[in-house]
Symmetry: C2
Subunit: 421 residues, 2 copies
């Protein structure tokens, strides 16, 4: 009764997938051809990205004007709000609209190669895995982290082919985290679509997240750099720490800004930092450049999360492509809440304590929360801080030669604070 | 606004842990001194293991007689059941009681060093992580997988110190899997104690599982063997695949035995195989020995899971230290169910379809399931198969020199089918 490695093949199993909403299932081969959710084709560096995977951010930016015209019911507040935010802080590049386009052009078809590898490496004889993984991978993600890996490798003069697999590994870590996050937060929507847990329940996303996480390490091991494995395994630990820390600061309006920053640095900025840093490692550049890219990614990551937290109180949910008020409903203590709480009067503080700490939320509370963060300038303050981090991120690139690569990365960084409103 | 790596320290956060049962929390420093749940001290190779972490299996074996005297309400069936099982198949070593003791003696204080490293590497400034990780790590696990790594390294003549960290890495992968499994299965009890999710809810165990998984890779990366990283990252992917496949075969009495074997090979045997195989890798032994150890671990892992699935229908839950009927309640299609279904009459098949497929379970159904698997000889059949796999596992060791190491590993393997009843 010898059992060999290949003696029992999982393919033989009768795979009786019973998702809660069968019509929502997107097979791996289907999403290869899916249209962007906005129904518009978009090109990046000449390559039609939506032929491979959703890349809807650019589309959304272009469609912004159109969306504004027919906004949601509470668009009025949002309009005022956007106006206040935009007026509050100058753009980083005055007179030029920050965009991901230059980075896309620079990367040419490299991002498409990353997408193809992602599709290839999420395959499994266990049918539910590519179904579920494909669903989230195709879910309109921006591929920002792999773009950082690719872009930073280019900035460091890297000309080999390893960056493709490492960018895919970075995206797999991110995707695994998203799957687990949505289960932990019991989120129903991500980027305007049902979350994986809303479609399949909690069990498959937990296990498929584990699978993608393992796959990520398989990709890194195949690459063969212990230094890069060290950076990304460390980043994974820190991300998990950040997620746990976030649980522990939830529902607590006494959370300090420092604690909030510790959470977002760990849960978001760490992977941005690692994704950027490995560009220098694979190009075998000196430690100084590694550290500069780490600083670039880290500060950009913080800015990115600040904007994300701000947009949770945005009155333009369709533009962000995600539902608003999720953090509020979860009792997450983000910077907009901390600022509004600190600047609020007695009645306002009582509101935040009731809704965030006691989780006693009633109809109209989200709208009142949106009104309060606006009234106290908490969104403008959050955006202003985010722009400060972006400026630091861009500054970190100053040790590199000025050129197409540096300008493309700077532009992508500046774009982080100009998105979604 | 520069953010450095260490600029924001998660330690500054106010960590407001609010577990559902605060009195259940076991701090990392506390469980270093906890007594075994059975209240009895046990030594392994001269080292008092319960000084570091629970090692209750040996204790339970010794306490078996005592437990039998005062069994649970349904002890009568169980007694008959055990009798039938023991009578059905001869022990692998006639006249000698299989035991983990020889392997424990061989390892000396190495397992204690593994335990110490586990405690050290599960630390985090985020307090909930060592609390929760300590709770499950101390929860009476057998450390069977790290023992395999240590024992196989010794068998291959390895005399260095790397096996300690790699054994800890193996245990971290296992612990992460347990945490996620218990959430997925919504289990309340593991080895007689509340599961982590029963104490803290689902959110922390998902995230702490991710943390331990990352830590495992950090340990492997520090070890520096890409070959071992390859083996264990591959094993992790396969485990996750097996868990997803198990979800898909649940509630389906048409599941084939081959599909069932595919599930247990992936979810359980793969890590046993990898844990054993890396012993040869670190000793730089030829591929033939690597493969022999893989076969040893893989067959042992299948036997181990078969026995586990059998014990879910055991009438002696206190001896196993876990509650029975969990798989039945989850609708898991294990070998005892498959055999009882295949051998059952029309009425019995209707019973299995109602309880397993339709998940329509009523009072008394578990007892009826226990009666049916016993009536149809499904437990004896499962045990017999398990013993066959154990024999294959022991046979795989035949290429190694006969000596203390080989005999200790053979004895530990034989013990797998003699535990818990």
């Amino acid at each position: 009764m010898v059992v060999e490695d290949e003696a029992v093949d999982p393919r033989i199993a009768q795979q009786s997938l019973q998702p809660r909403k069968a019509d929502r299932i997107v097979g791996a081969q289907q999403f290869l051809h899916r249209r962007d959710v906005d129904g518009e084709q978009e090109t990046c560096g000449g390559a039609a990205l939506d032929r491979s995977l959703g890349h809807s951010m650019l589309v959304r930016v272009r469609a912004r004007q159109a969306d504004r015209a027919g906004g949601p019911a509470d668009a009025q507040n949002g309009q005022e709000n956007s106006g206040a935010l935009v007026a509050g802080v100058d753009r980083v590049h005055v007179g030029r609209k920050p965009s991901l386009d230059p980075l896309c052009r620079l990367l040419g078809d490299e991002l498409e190669r990353v997408n193809q590898l992602i599709v290839q490496r999420m395959q499994s004889p266990v049918a539910l895995i590519p179904q579920l993984a494909g669903y989230i991978v195709a879910g309109g993600g921006k591929r920002l982290r792999p773009m950082l890996t690719l872009g930073c490798a280019r900035l460091c003069g890297y000309r080999g082919g390893r960056h493709i697999a490492l960018a895919a590994a970075v995206e797999f870590i991110h995707t695994a985290t998203l799957l687990h996050d949505d289960v932990v937060d019991a989120s129903d929507l991500r980027r305007g679509r049902d979350t994986a847990n809303a479609v399949w329940g909690n069990k498959p996303p937990i296990l498929v997240g584990d699978f993608l996480f393992s796959r990520s390490f398989e990709l890194m091991v195949a690459d063969g750099s212990l230094r890069i494995l060290e950076i990304l395994s460390r980043a994974s630990s820190v991300i998990a720490e950040g997620e746990v820390l976030q649980l522990m600061t939830a529902n607590d309006t006494r959370t300090s800004e420092a604690a909030y920053l510790a959470v977002i640095q760990a849960k978001t900025a760490e992977l941005f930092a690692a994704a950027s840093r490995i560009g220098a490692v694979m190009a075998e550049r000196p430690l100084e450049e590694e550290e500069a890219l780490d600083r670039f990614g880290r500060n950009l990551g913080i800015a990115f999360q600040l904007v994300d937290d701000m947009l949770d109180f945005s009155a333009h949910p369709t533009e962000l492509g995600k539902s608003i008020g999720n953090d509020f409903r979860d009792g997450k203590v983000t910077l907009p809440v901390l600022v509004a709480f600190a600047r609020g009067d007695k009645g306002e503080r009582a509101f935040w304590r009731r809704t965030i700490e006691k989780q006693d939320q009633r109809a109209g509370d989200l709208q009142q929360a949106i009104d309060l963060v606006e009234k106290r300038g908490a969104l403008a303050e959050t955006l202003s801080r985010a722009r400060g981090y972006v400026a630091t991120a861009i500054g970190a690139l100053s040790i590199f030669r000025d050129g197409t690569e540096r300008r493309a990365l700077s532009d992508a960084a500046a774009f982080a604070t100009e998105r979604g409103f």
